[in-house]
Symmetry: C2
Subunit: 131 residues, 2 copies
DNA sequence: ACGACTGTATTAGTGTTATCATACACTAGG
DNA sequence: CCTAGTGTATGATAACACTAATACAGTCGT
């Protein structure tokens, strides 16, 4: 199985699918800081998409501090994770939590059910992590 | 203060800002099932946007089962919340939780911090709820 | 120095989205 | 009935998103 898989008919943009998978695998530990990623052209060939599409995904990830691009060398998971300042992190978490809370409530779930879902997701992520 | 407020320069579409606020206020209890919303034209005038923009927001919300549109009468919060089937709800919660878990991990937060953020968000929502 | 690999930049084509304008159809009250 | 309110439907236009094509520039091993 390849590192990444793409579904061109899912409606979600290819470049975003790439970004999501890098983020997910980094969170899950399948990708580790410093590790080299497939080159733009190589990945483009594997997934049968235009190199510019991969370049866009990588470029955005670099802008977000997730990966590091080195001209002539390749793409790498950022060696030193950004380590967001405490205040900013708090604000970010608050935003994420509110979004999830509101959307989860739409399903009719109660607090316990919502928290349980998050616990499960975290446990699932931790599966592959030495931490 | 008006029921809704809009920021035309935020980059997020106006119709989506409307949708988000209806959903949020419903989750928070500021809007209650059965309650009447501002008419399309009235809200359009208040926010200084085209009625079709409000119509789109309302139409999408109706499609999602959040509100009810009655020609010649007005727009109302759906009296009986949709109550998603258990399986579908579980799947939806799983998706939401995974997204939050992955994005929260990006900030460098640990499990406890992430769960605490969600707890806070739920508590904050419950503030205005009789439930 | 060369060649084969890396990322970068610019431009363009295509489709979708967001907003607006205008005309239509239903409902309720006088 | 008729009027003033409601939502509905259609089409136009501008902006944006996504993908692609092509040419450029740095790195590294031979």
């Amino acid at each position: 199985m390849a590192i990444f898989t793409i579904n061109p008919h899912s409606g979600v943009p290819v470049y975003r699918q790439i970004m999501d998978q890098v983020r997910y695998q980094l969170a899950a530990g399948t990708l580790a800081p410093g590790q080299q990623l497939p080159s733009i052209r190589e990945l483009a060939h594997t997934l049968a998409v235009n190199p510019a599409t991969i370049a866009k995904a990588y470029s955005e990830l670099e802008h977000d501090g997730v990966i590091e691009l080195q001209r002539g060398r390749g793409a790498f998971i950022h060696a030193h994770p950004p380590a967001m300042p405490r205040d900013q992190r708090r604000q970010r978490l608050r935003t994420l939590a509110e979004r999830m809370a509101v959307e989860a409530r739409q399903t009719g779930a109660d607090d316990a059910e919502i928290c349980a879902a998050l616990d499960q997701a975290l446990i699932h992520l931790n599966r592959r992590r030495p931490s």
